[in-house]
């Protein structure tokens, strides 16, 4: 009986019924081998392909009468169509706030203090609230960390999904219903006809997250933001959800910003990776380079300090894990200079005075570190 509920494989081809929502961007035919190869080739150099989002020198502050707390300080990145950008960082690195800023969903008192968020040619930072409401859930969708909190406990799955279609799409009830069932099927929920009548508490954590992913895809968004979508799940379920994201990526050339603290997860899902520390991006490169040739001391330390399940324990011979000294980043401690300097094994005196600017070491690989040749700038914009 359990077997009946096991996640079925995603159907090999899209349902043939033409969906009223078909848009060339996302719901087109699966990419041909050529297209896919091309996407892979151009990924490291995002400028060579169509840029979907470009975040330029974004700053997020907590305002205060004296001097604002600078939560996120001048980060820049872009995501090409069909690309997944992984943003890795520890708690307090600003990775979640910077992705919420794209949707203009910053919790008070945080506010965008500068910079541009260019999405499909428009600057979101300057848009009206009404325009943003029309955009959220339709052109940019989000999958949150905890599926238990992001579904309404008193509404059935069907009711909360059709609400989104009612807001954004002008669909007949029957079509909306069909669309929801189609998507639930797509994310690996068997028997969607039953599931849409159920409440969130009747589903397991993994199933709820699948519903959240279906919800994000309802209106064919151009961009999906996923904030630690597998962190609250057990590892075997996490593996299934990552597999689902991979399928969706390959099939729809979905563009995604995937926020996580887990180097293993990001290795699996991301085409390019930005490593954040204390509100700044310290290194950006394609996924393989981040792991094979990391430049920033923080990236190196992060990779070195994670005990690996595939490496024999050599504790008997006195082996200890490489560590990063001190405590995690705190938003309150902000001197001038590099924010990692206090914990950096390579820090030189100038590191505490001058903030490093991004330096492109190779096409598609940029690093912010004075010891790697970055130019120092003043921290205050």
């Amino acid at each position: 009986m359990h077997q009946a509920n096991l996640s079925p494989p995603i159907p090999d081809s899209l349902p043939t019924t033409p969906s009223p929502l078909t848009s060339p961007g996302l719901r087109g035919a699966p990419p041909s081998a050529d297209e896919r190869a091309q996407a892979n080739d151009v990924i490291p150099v995002s400028d060579a392909t169509e840029t979907l989002v470009h975040v330029d020198n974004l700053r997020i502050h907590f305002p205060s009468r004296r001097s604002p707390t600078r939560i996120v300080e001048g980060i820049s990145y872009s995501v090409a169509r069909g690309e997944t950008l992984g943003i890795v960082g520890e708690s307090g690195s600003g990775k979640t706030l910077s992705s919420l800023a794209i949707l203009r969903l910053l919790p008070r008192p945080a506010q965008i203090a500068g910079g541009r968020i260019v999405f499909e040619g428009e600057d979101l930072a300057g848009k009206s609230d009404e325009d943003m409401r029309r955009l959220r859930g339709k052109r940019i969708a989000m999958v949150f960390q905890n599926p238990g909190f992001s579904l309404h406990p008193l509404m059935t799955i069907g009711a909360q999904l059709s609400e989104i279609l009612a807001v954004h799409e002008n669909l007949a009830r029957k079509d909306a219903h069909a669309r929801i069932e189609e998507l639930l099927q797509l994310v690996g929920i068997s028997d969607p006809g039953t599931r849409i009548r159920q409440y969130p508490h009747e589903l397991s954590g993994g199933m709820k997250q699948r519903v959240c992913i279906a919800r994000a895809l309802l209106c064919n968004p151009s961009l999906v933001l996923a904030d630690e979508p597998t962190t609250s799940l057990d590892v075997t379920i996490q593996a299934q959800i990552l597999e689902l994201f991979e399928e969706l990526k390959a099939r729809f050339r979905m563009s995604m910003i995937f926020v996580t603290h887990d180097m293993g997860v990001v290795a699996r899902i991301a085409d390019r990776i930005a490593v954040m520390y204390a509100g700044q991006i310290c290194e950006t490169a394609d996924a393989e380079t981040i792991f094979s040739n990391p430049q920033h001391p923080y990236t190196r330390a992060l990779l070195g300090s994670t005990p690996r399940v595939d490496q024999r324990s050599t504790r008997a011979s006195g082996f200890r894990l490489p560590t990063i000294g001190g405590s995690g980043p705190t938003i309150l401690h902000q001197g001038d200079g590099c924010r990692f300097a206090a914990r950096c094994p390579e820090a030189a005196p100038e590191c505490t005075r001058l903030a490093p600017l991004p330096l492109t070491v190779r096409p598609g690989h940029s690093v912010q570190c004075l010891k790697r040749g970055s130019i120092g700038g003043a921290n205050h914009a």
């Binding site: 077997q3 520890e90 590892v235 180097m263 005990p307 399940v309 405590s327 995690g328």
Partner: protein
């Protein structure tokens, strides 16, 4: 009264757990009172031992019973049945009916490090009060020596003595977990039961605490029962590992043997589900299908047969026993890999 621990090499295992089970009644409200309509076996027939100076890890996903097992040992939950022996002393009986002196003596041998350092320290107590409490309860030396002992404990876990008069909210997660470890060490235990001690910590701090646990083990020849779902830290810290699924141990033995060549299909699924920090290796085997059934709907036969890629008819009917494979490797499977 109990004697100080004799030299350990001469004795058998420090801690032996035999056929431990913990079940909870399922009730439905009846006309006058609640009726018991069934039971949930959170832990079922679990046996293992921990040798002096070694680390045994218990791994598994949420709901597999690893924490209940750990808590049963210190009587934080009452085991339903089974036997727990600490160096030949009956732990269950001592906690149930023993004299206060005997109970305290047992607690001095075994201490617990909790998962969440934000919940396990009283926010209204200074670190000095927190660390003084075990010294006072267990009467560790003259009260005039307690301040010195507190300073030594903090030094042991890598914190300056001047921190003693601060409060928990002034510390980061990693520092709080150090304080939690210092509190456990206050009574000079032989066995630490560490329940996910690093899972709430950030990556960069996690390595520090794991190294601290390794250092303390070497310096104080401590034994650890380390509960975790983070298999990387398990491989670093432990010599042996027990894999739990739906309340039972499915595989137990040497950590390198099991991680390099898992024999139970669940262990293999668990290991292959862990994303490796290497994009070239991320094209992994297909993930195991389905989800763990709830303990209320435990399948008959092998608990894993509903998801197992190698299930046979016998797996549906008969619970496989934990069988010796190699000298230090046991597996409960009708059709091992």
């Amino acid at each position: 009264m109990l004697e100080p621990v004799p030299s350990e090499a001469s004795l058998g295992p420090l801690l032996t757990v035999r056929n431990l089970s913990k079940s909870y009644p399922v009730t439905r409200s009846g006309l006058l009172r609640k009726k018991v309509v069934g039971t949930i076996d959170a832990v079922r027939d679990v046996s293992f031992s921990v040798d002096a100076g070694e680390t045994l890890s218990i791994v598994g996903e949420s709901g597999c019973g690893k924490t209940t097992t750990a808590r049963s040992i210190l009587n934080l939950v009452d085991p339903t049945s089974g036997e727990i022996q600490y160096q030949g002393r009956d732990v269950v009986r001592t906690f149930a009916t023993g004299a206060r002196g005997d109970v305290l003596a047992l607690r001095r041998q075994m201490q617990y490090v909790f998962q969440d350092p934000y919940l396990s320290l009283n926010p209204r107590w200074s670190i000095r009060q927190i660390l003084r409490e075990p010294l006072r309860i267990h009467q560790r030396g003259e009260s005039s020596s307690w301040d010195d002992q507190i300073e030594q404990l903090l030094a042991r876990v890598g914190l300056p003595g001047s921190y003693a008069d601060r409060y928990p909210h002034e510390f980061s997660g990693g520092q709080r977990q150090r304080i939690g470890i210092a509190r456990a060490l206050a009574v000079d235990p032989r066995l630490l039961i560490c329940d996910e001690p690093v899972s709430s910590l950030d990556v960069s701090v996690r390595a520090q605490v794991l190294n601290l646990l390794a250092d303390l083990q070497d310096q104080l020849s401590l034994s650890y029962l380390y509960i975790s779902h983070d298999l990387g830290s398990v491989r670093f810290l432990s010599r042996r590992v027990a894999v739990m699924y739906l309340g039972t141990i499915v595989e137990i033995g040497d950590v390198d043997a099991i991680f390099d060549r898992p024999r139970h299909h669940y262990t293999a699924a668990l290991l292959s589900a862990i994303p490796v920090a290497d994009p070239r290796r991320s094209a992994m085997a297909k993930s195991v299908r389905g989800e763990a059934p709830s303990v209320t709907e435990r399948p008959r036969g092998c608990p894993f047969h509903t998801r197992c890629p190698a299930a046979r008819p016998i797996c549906r009917d008969e619970v496989p026993a934990l069988m010796q494979d190699d000298p230090d490797h046991k597996v409960a499977c009708h059709n091992p890999r």
